[in-house]
Symmetry: C2
Subunit: 217 residues, 2 copies
């Protein structure tokens, strides 16, 4: 990258951060929490959101912002749960940014919402650079992806408040060293929690729900 490219990137990220701070201020005023969920395609973002909605929908008011390059498959799945789901199609863009979130917030009834999930575009790289105004960043890595991913895609793990290791129901069929994985994360990001879960079998989800409960306090 030449100096000009770096400077343009800095300008974009600086403007994005200001928008993100504005979003957080609006959410705080409405006592609404927002959680940004990031992972590769197919790691289990939609399944996690679905299970969490089913657990909390009778005790708090939830909405979901779905980020996708194309299609509205996930927003349709969420709508079936009788929860508002906004679809953002990035039209080829590889991540959401704060500007997209700020625009979509006009369609959210913040007055009555307690919790908003953002399902980011499936991408372990570009999503990490953009603060979306969320209060917490969740990163999902699934067992089949392998335990070496934090070395190869470190930034997203450095931005995480919690790392969920999903699909532990299939752990026996893959080489993923669950013993050393938390240390790898700790080396990159000492304040991130690591939680093994299976959105399919439900294993570990009670710990995830406790984490959500603390955010809602």
């Amino acid at each position: 990258m030449d100096a000009k490219t770096i400077s343009v990137n800095k300008d974009i990220l600086s403007a994005n951060s200001k928008t993100a701070d504005r979003i957080r201020a609006v959410l705080d005023r409405h006592h609404c929490r927002m959680i940004n969920i990031m992972s590769s395609p197919g790691s289990g973002k939609t399944s996690l959101i679905t299970k969490t909605i089913n657990r909390f929908k009778h005790t708090c008011s939830i909405a979901v912002i779905e980020g996708d390059i194309a299609s509205s498959i996930d927003a349709e799945k969420i709508s079936l749960l009788n929860v508002p789901a906004l679809q953002i199609n990035t039209g080829g863009g590889c991540h959401l940014d704060a500007n997209m979130i700020e625009k979509s917030m006009n369609d959210l009834d913040l007055e009555h919402l307690d919790l908003v999930f953002i399902e980011n575009v499936g991408n372990l790289v570009c999503t990490a650079d953009f603060d979306l105004g969320a209060h917490k960043n969740v990163v999902i890595l699934s067992i089949p992806e392998g335990d070496d991913k934090p070395y190869k895609y470190p930034v997203i793990f450095m931005e995480a408040d919690i790392v969920l290791v999903n699909k532990i129901d299939v752990h026996p069929y893959f080489d993923f060293d669950m013993g050393t994985f938390p240390e790898i994360i700790y080396g990159l990001n000492p304040s991130a929690a690591v939680l093994p879960v299976s959105t399919k079998s439900g294993e570990g989800l009670d710990d995830w729900f406790s984490w959500i409960n603390k955010i809602l306090e």
Copy 2:
């Protein structure tokens, strides 16, 4: 995106295409084939390259260009096979581009090489937009990622010459409809071949090796 953003993107992609054409011309002059392998993180790019090297290294001369955001884990794995492995670290960049490949070609002994694999950054989005000067694009989707990914990340599947569905050894533990999947790909890209494989068990790899043999003819 505003008009200025679109125009800058077009300039970048147009310059990239010219560099890619120049790369292909140089490779053709040396009777060397280049194959660009793209997928999400952890879908099996390195395993596929490793198995393919072991199958062909006694009959043809192979090199690998490894693209990563950080680390040189994969290049080190490839070097153990006594094959030249060049590491490109993108320093945060989410894909390789033709300029990076052209620079790295100075370190390749094209005079004596028959086949170069590029292992792109693990990313199902941004990698698809950049022609790297390769003769063929291979996309790997693994069973645990789910059969809906072509709907959500269509561009990369439209750019593929062949789509490998990897990790079929764990097919029984996941909901992936292998019956309809080739039709989904055909709808996006009628000329792409679809091949189920397991780089772990070796199932389906003979068909992949036949595909490579045809490219080398």
